[in-house]
Amino acid sequence: MKPDERTLQEIEKELLKTKEELNLQRWGLEKTNEAIKTLYRELEKKNEELRALDKLKSDFVNTVSHELRTPLTTIREVIAQMSEGILGPTSEEQKKFLAVCLEDVDRLKRIIDNLLDLAKLESGKAEFTQEEVDVVDIATHVIASFRSAADAKKTELQGRYSAKKAVANADKDKITQVFVNLIGNALKFTENGRIEVMVNDGPDSIECAVSDTGRGIAAEDLPKVFGKFQQFGTADGPRENGTGLGLSIVKYIVELHQGKVRVESKTGRGTTFSFTIKKIPRG
């Protein structure tokens, strides 16, 4: 009997140990469950706070931009009238300074407009109309609007299209803005050179590109070009009259159209910005 009793005792001990281990595991599971729930709740709270902060930022930008625009319009009008001699005789010297003032006021206005555009895009409040648009037509029009500016910089500006038409469901004004920003940008950094605007119609998407033979962007700056308030290549040349927001806007608009934007560049050789517009089914 004795060996059997010992075996039973041993079994009981073993069972007790197993029970303890099971109790520990059950306690552990409960605690782990509780802890994970708590941490998720904390994450959700943080997310909510971030969203609220983001909204606050957008509201702030919106309000400030509107408040800034109104007085700026008045200032511009008065300077223009002074410059034209409407408010009394103006000397040539004064006219020169007033022209500088006007230029800076216009620059400020552009920055505010861009900030407003970006704030709208970021907050998802930008109106996005989908209609059948011909991207070749848009490119042609934008090129025409830049013709005299290109001539002034002795730069050849031409379009190259794979077909006579490239139709997608897109927001016409926004796609126009992408071309305006990219061609304007290319022209800023190109003199005595060439700018080519390409539109290639594909089955699922339209591929577009704006290439220039300008001074290019340094490799270390390339990852930052789509960031806000980024301006490059100004160290060796005159400060350009940009806002540093144009390419951020391009990126937002292209992504709004489910497309991708890319940049390739070589210092001294030129830059190519390319982007796609997905042919989104209408709806």
Binding site: L24, L29, A35
Partner: protein, 121 residues
């Protein structure tokens, strides 16, 4: 006199929040350490009633701090609570095996910690 508490926590913000909520709950006798080694040393010197240790600490972790304090001061006192702010580091069984009395996640209102404090005091 209120119980002496040692908090081992390397994040200043978390420490500040814990101190505030614990003081509000009546625990105002608090000492702290910001890494594992000084945590164990403070435990030996101060002989706290309760230790609250973070899981991820410079130089070591809360489980080891817990085991070392147990080895140095015995199985009964202090009571030890291990906390965590990182989902990757959640391991209640490991905390228990290291000798902890309770285990909970960090929250911005310290509710789980205060509940655990209530249970052990």
């Amino acid at each position: 006199m209120s119980k002496k508490i040692l908090i081992v926590e390397d994040n200043d913000d978390d420490l500040f929040i814990m101190k505030r909520y614990l003081a509000e709950a009546g625990f105002d006798n608090i000492v702290s350490a910001s890494d594992a080694a000084s945590g164990v040393q403070k435990a030996r010197e101060e002989k706290p009633d309760i230790v609250i240790s973070d899981t991820l600490l410079p130089g070591s972790n809360g489980f080891e701090v817990c085991a070392e304090i147990r080895a140095a001061l015995g199985a009964e006192k202090p009571k030890i609570i291990i906390t965590t702010g990182s989902i990757d580091a959640v391991d209640a069984v490991k905390a228990k095996k290291a000798g902890a009395d309770d285990y909970c996640a960090k929250a911005s209102d310290c509710a789980p910690l205060l509940a655990a404090m209530k249970k052990i005091t």
